[in-house]
């Protein structure tokens, strides 16, 4: 299991290859990568991601431990950036491995659902008109109900 919280950019492909090559038993690896996108109406200059340094890694590790236990994952990786990110940059990445693909997929979806709403990050969008905090979406909170 590996959790990385960092302001520096990271290479998702290198992270995926490292994760794949570390798997001794798992035949299935699922990854998710989140990319900064402009707003539908345009104008995003950059995104700022604030976090709670004393809590972040521990909160993510607890979510990872739950996912590993629940889906019998062989391994899991979470990388999450904070600080200033431009459009097109990769914000975060999750990877899971399991013997069968259904567990790897479910583990990755579980991690994403919980990271969205239970890991202490807050996104702010900065445009030429000012800055605004991204509101939590009801659909993200509702996504937790299925687990």
């Amino acid at each position: 299991m590996s959790v990385r919280v960092q302001s520096d950019p990271f290479d998702p492909g290198a992270a995926l290859n490292g994760f794949v090559s570390a798997q001794a038993n798992a035949g299935a690896v699922v990854s998710f990568s989140g990319i900064v996108r402009d707003r539908p109406e345009g104008g995003l200059q950059h995104m700022e991601i604030e976090h709670y340094p004393a809590m972040t890694a521990g909160a993510i590790s607890a979510i990872v431990d739950q996912a590993v236990a629940r889906f019998g994952l062989d391994d899991a990786l979470v990388i999450h950036r904070h600080g200033i990110l431009k459009v097109g940059e990769v914000i975060m990445m999750v990877a899971t491995s399991a013997r069968h693909r259904a567990d790897a997929f479910q583990g990755a979806e579980f991690l994403m659902d919980y990271l969205k709403s239970r890991a202490p990050f807050w996104k702010k969008e900065v445009t030429g008109d000012g800055a605004s905090w991204v509101a939590a979406r009801d659909v993200d909170e509702a996504a937790l109900d299925r687990w």
């Binding site: 989140g34 604030e50 976090h51 709670y52 004393a54 809590m55 521990g58 909160a59 999450h80 914000i91 975060m92 994403m112 990271l115 969205k116 709403s117 239970r118 890991a119 202490p120 990050f121 807050w122 996104k123 702010k124 905090w133 991204v134 509101a135 939590a136 909170e141």
Partner: protein, 82 residues
């Protein structure tokens, strides 16, 4: 003495990221009431608790959580990670 920390728009409304509070409150809700009585900026930040989340010693919890032996309380909006 409890460290109280604020994030995102809670931090911006209250105007500081962290302070140390000498409190008699026994629960998070009691601490919120004390802070809200101080100044408008606190009252405004805490005006709708359903829009807030709280962590005690870096664990998510509820507003009725006890403060016995607690060292740090954090207030923030719903998280938007991922």
């Amino acid at each position: 003495m409890i460290d109280v920390v604020y994030f995102a728009w809670v931090r911006e409304r209250i105007g500081l990221p962290r302070e140390t509070v000498d409190t008699d409150a026994t629960t998070v809700a009691g601490l919120v009431a004390e802070l809200s009585a101080r100044e408008d900026r606190y009252a405004m930040a805490f005006s709708d608790l359903s829009a807030l989340r709280v962590a005690v010693d870096q664990e998510l919890t509820d507003f009725d959580a006890a403060l016995d032996g607690v060292r740090e309380v954090a207030f923030f909006p719903p998280m938007t990670g991922g």
